[in-house]
Amino acid sequence: MTTDAIFQLGLYLAVLLALAWPLGAYLSRVLQGEAWGPVRLLAPAERLIYRICGIRADEEMNWKNYAIALILFNTLGAVAVYGLQRLQGGLPLNPQNLGAVSPDSAFNTALSFATNTNWQGYGGESTMSYLTQMLALTVQNFLSAATGIAVAIALIRGFARHSFGTIGNFWADLTRCTLYVLLPLSFVLALVQVQQGSIQNLKPYQDAQTLQVTTYQQPKNDAQGNPLKDEKGNPVTEEAKTATQSIAMGPVASQEAIKMIGTNGGGFFNANSAHPYENPTPLTNFLQMLAIFLIPTALCFTFGRIVGDQRQGWAVLAAMTAIFVVMVCVALYAEQQGNPQLTQLGADQIASAVQAGGNMEGKETRFGITASALFAAITTAASCGAVNAMHDSFTPLGGLVPLALIQMGEVVFGGVGSGLYGMLIFAIMAVFISGLMIGRTPEYLGKKIEIFEMKMTALAILVTPILVLVGTAIAVMATAGKAGVANPAAHGFSEILYAFSSAANNNGSAFAGLSANTPFYNVLLGIAVWFGRFAVIVPVLAIAGSLAAKKRLAVTTGTLPTHGPLFVILLIGTVLLVGALNFIPALALGPIIEHLQMLAN
């Protein structure tokens, strides 16, 4: 790890805090229904939306109604994304004449974008029309993010209120998040992206006349257009020449901005944030990393403000930051060390003033090692899943970091909203464990934690590991599952484990060598993203409803303080313990054994 890497990490965290603090204050105002500051100008639009839709924003819902509205709304979103993909061939804004997406891929993408996962089994520039990118995918980037924030704010209300029957109005929460938070932030980031070089147009792909002729092997197809294969099953190719480079275009910057701010992560292009049009400069890379953690961090402050004790927000943020810093340092170190085999072959992997060095397979020159490893840890600590380097080509330990961060349940900052509500569930778990140790009924923020809350907490914590481990087990036993693997031995197992971890925890990044655009993976991973999202949200809302109805207990000498270092350590311990118990055996079979094999060679 270089001194520059330590400086970059420190700078990142400092700028993040400086931006998230005021945003946290802003969020606590607008999410409580106050149109404040310059966004007052949008208040008439908000009222107009309510009038058209027949929504009475001041009429609150109990948790069951809140959950029904939320699931209904997100199901509608999934149906629309599916429909647009299937019909895009006959719809406008399709200059490349891309045809309908296959039913299984469309199913997977619809569920994945409606759940804030944004797993990509497809390559954007070769699959999706501009209309689909905008009207289906960009929309879900906004709405799934707004859904996550709505659930978090409902849970915060559960803690802040007492003897209350309701937890808010889902329609109003959704509208306010979109209108006052996500749209303005995205608008600003999108324009900065364009200034730096991101494209934003509706033109057909541009042909460039290259400086020299390129000779390459073109796969041969039979009369039906299927690839020809020789007796050994290898594709038959013929030599071809070209002096033209077809350059993909599209409305990239607008989708890029919300992709990061909403911790969505589904790229416009196949290469995601590694593509120079999505992430043209080191500055856009820094801004994208900030955008991923911005709302998750701000929501910690919002939480502290609304429950009336800012130290509670700082405690949660401290636990998240501690885990993050340790994990990111492992990734920075492992990637900068490089691949010992390449040094043996005569490649120079040593960092100097004239090169980044390190493991550069699957990385971009402008980002080098530091900005790639930092991005990888950020995008997986948060449930973003955008990538600016190919995680599949990371060193075994460098690849273990994103995998383990995902498996911790996306609570280290986590997705917008989902990170905070996930971490608060772990906080409930932590006070429960400490309550058992000292023999008192556990309480958190003045609310007694009882049987119902603990049942729901157990459900919310256990759903995703079950989806991950059962899904992985099915895939490694099925022929169709093993067929997708690209890399041999332990790394192939890691590819499958990563896919299910990413899907069930709604991350969306991949060890992308896995050929997951098959009916087998599209269906199985589609199921994982859906239940990984809503089978957690429903218990969280149930807890919110139950807590809101409870009386508030007075603080006594017997109350465990939940704002000090002791609680922070307890919370970190709970997250690590649950993650370790669930996943260490699987990790041992994947990245850990691969690391030992690499050293042995």
Partner: protein, 191 residues
């Protein structure tokens, strides 16, 4: 359930139009008015023809040009309509095989260089479209290009230095050289 249906449908419709049509079109309008060059791909025009983009790497194999990062896109390298990396794992034997072949080819083409090869010249980029190489990788190729173009080494070296970008704002990212722009400058020098 039933009383949720109308707000759900209507709100979904309105927010779809707002975030999926109005927002991207507004960004497009402003981008095209204020930053038209970037918004349309930072394309480079020479003699009235588009010869590439300042942000998209091109395939170079001729001795008279500087070479860029290896590209894993298919079917041809640097396919800007099908981006992506190799996704080769760190212990996959295919990775050292490919690197070995690239190192052998580079050593054969650069007899003036005796040291190890800068790693970015022998590893595939993440996008397959990386427009840049490290200053070390550019320096490695100077003698070959100078010889092929029958230029003094000093002159080519100066050109490389003029095309070397430091860290952005002195802080972010890594130092780098844009290969297409450097090669265009070389062509210009000769004409």
């Amino acid at each position: 359930m039933k009383n949720h249906l109308r707000p759900a449908l209507m709100l979904f419709g309105i927010l779809t139009l707002l975030t999926g049509l109005l927002y991207p079109l507004a960004v497009t309008g402003i981008a095209q008015a204020v930053f038209p060059e970037q918004a349309n791909g930072s394309l480079i025009v020479r003699d009235g023809k588009v010869v590439g983009s300042a942000l998209i790497g091109q395939n170079f194999t001729e001795n008279q040009y500087f070479w860029g990062r290896p590209s894993a896109t298919g079917p041809m390298p640097n396919n800007a309509a099908n981006s992506g990396g190799s996704n080769l794992g760190p212990t996959n034997p295919a990775l050292p095989d490919a690197v070995k072949e690239r190192i052998a080819a580079l050593k054969a083409a650069h007899p003036a260089q005796s040291g190890p090869v800068p790693v970015d010249l022998v590893t595939a980029s993440a996008s397959g479209l990386d427009p840049q190489i490290s200053p070390a990788a550019a320096r490695y190729q100077v003698e070959r290009v100078a010889q092929a173009r029958q230029l003094p080494v000093e002159k080519v070296l100066k050109l490389v230095e003029a095309h070397t970008e430091g860290r952005q704002w002195g802080v972010f990212g890594e130092a780098r050289v844009n290969v297409l722009q450097l090669n265009l400058a070389l062509d210009k020098l000769m004409s």
